[in-house]
Subunit: 165 residues, 4 copies
């Protein structure tokens, strides 16, 4: 399955028999080196919603011996990008806000679920909740998205990127 | 130098002759596996301010072929943690907000400068600007910090961690 | 009805026959001079959720001839305060974030619906959507709450207020 | 002085001898009914910075008997609007984030100072600190601005308003 990412150890069930609906978000995720190298798994991305998972490894721990908030943000940001790109047009993060609710520790499997709150013009707002297996909330994230303008045809095949994420 | 982090390629000058003032933030940074493995360099951390640098590697790029916003956040978050821990008491991130101003690309050397805006009770607000070498702004970050309460002596040597970062 | 607020012009139906469940939030609202003078109506406040309404008057318009964002924030903030105080303990706003989705104009009746996202320790996160009659979204708000510590009995009858809102 | 706003009681000194530089922000402020009725005074607005003042009246107090956070936000939002409109082109708030640091009380004179952090494309980020007379910080605000696109000449004299503030 092209949509399967991450380490064998992830308890993801009989995935080979599942064929989740592929969207533009899956294409984007296939090219997302950062998310793939961190072992982030795309569970689903369709209709403005998405789910992604990541296990906290020994390389993700900070000076307080808990998961570095940057990696928790990164997982939420990936789920957010999957959700807003599931509609089709290339969409980037204009910004995001995260609240750290509880610490995560090495070995924790984090699940990020993104839901669309609203869209208007080329903008959108998406909420992502990051939980530990078992359901305890680790972080709450709200992201602001922006659909890229298509590049003029004469200028090549790249959209004009106004933000990143 | 214990405070030197990151890859040889960083154009950081004759560091061995520099002896920046060491604070509690340096102790924390020495134990920050995540920041160290990503090649983040601590430039300074004293008096509520800090500077840290990171080069965007090929493993930090997302599906839009620009730096994953999560890594830009992570660098800002590390600079923020260095600034708020430079005062001494163990301090964690309660949350943060980032605006992505311009995309960063593979090979860019990013510099994050954190400054304290205000402190009140056990809380603090810190602003971090992330720039590319040359000065263009890549992101603006605002972090909310919280000083940990000391653990009761009977409960062991760990502070009660209410957030992470 | 003590819970009825605002101007006669509000199309709120046969309210005298309704008896919404009263919570600590209603007591707080009765003392909320600011919300009452602006004609904000408390529709409901129970179980961590709340609804409040306000009509944009000629005194709430800014230099762009649309509703001043401050009044839209104020309505959302009141709904947020009602939701987090519906649990009982006195709770204040530590902060909030608002995105202005569409302008509101003089005469518009705005409805703010607050829902609890999560609570942890003395903290909470609440989301508020402000719509115009008919359902168009005007603003999205996320608030951070903090339960006040009870004042020591020797120090009088006032809680120690750490924030406001 | 056209730029003088607010109540006689404001200790603003011999204003009639002062002639602050007038910018597009002053024109906007003259039409800002909301800010004027609340007694907000424009102190200065030029070069991306601004200062505004407001006294907390008996009608601005909430159910915790402190200034309603909505009015503190409103003052900060007005200072933000003055700062970003001081450049000339009509600019609105896309959103804002506020942290309530200390409560304000009836009678307090609040001062909001706005400074531009960065501008990019049609967007901008502005920081506003709200203090009490004497300097204690009451709130920290960060606003996101957006320059309006000029309306097509055939469509009349109104810009297309995408946000408000």
């Amino acid at each position: 399955m092209m949509s399967v990412r991450g380490r064998d150890a992830l308890p993801t069930g009989p995935r080979s028999q599942v064929d989740p609906q592929r969207t533009a978000a899956h294409e984007m995720f296939d090219a997302d080196v950062a998310s793939n190298r961190l072992g982030i798994e795309l569970v689903s991305a369709v209709g403005g919603a998405a789910e992604a998972r990541m296990r906290i490894t020994d390389g993700m721990v900070n000076g307080h011996r808990i998961a570095h908030g940057g990696f928790v943000f990164l997982l939420a940001d990936t789920a957010f990008a999957l959700a807003c790109n599931s509609h089709g047009p290339a969409t980037v993060a204009a910004g995001g806000e995260i609240t750290f609710v509880r610490p995560a520790r090495e070995g924790d499997l984090l699940v990020a679920r993104a839901a669309e709150r609203t869209r208007y013009g080329r903008s959108g707002i998406y909420d992502v909740t990051v939980t530990r297996e078992g359901g305890e909330v680790v972080a709450e994230f709200r992201g602001h998205s922006r659909v890229l303008r298509p590049a003029p045809s004469s200028s090549g095949d790249r959209p004009a990127v106004a933000g990143h994420g």
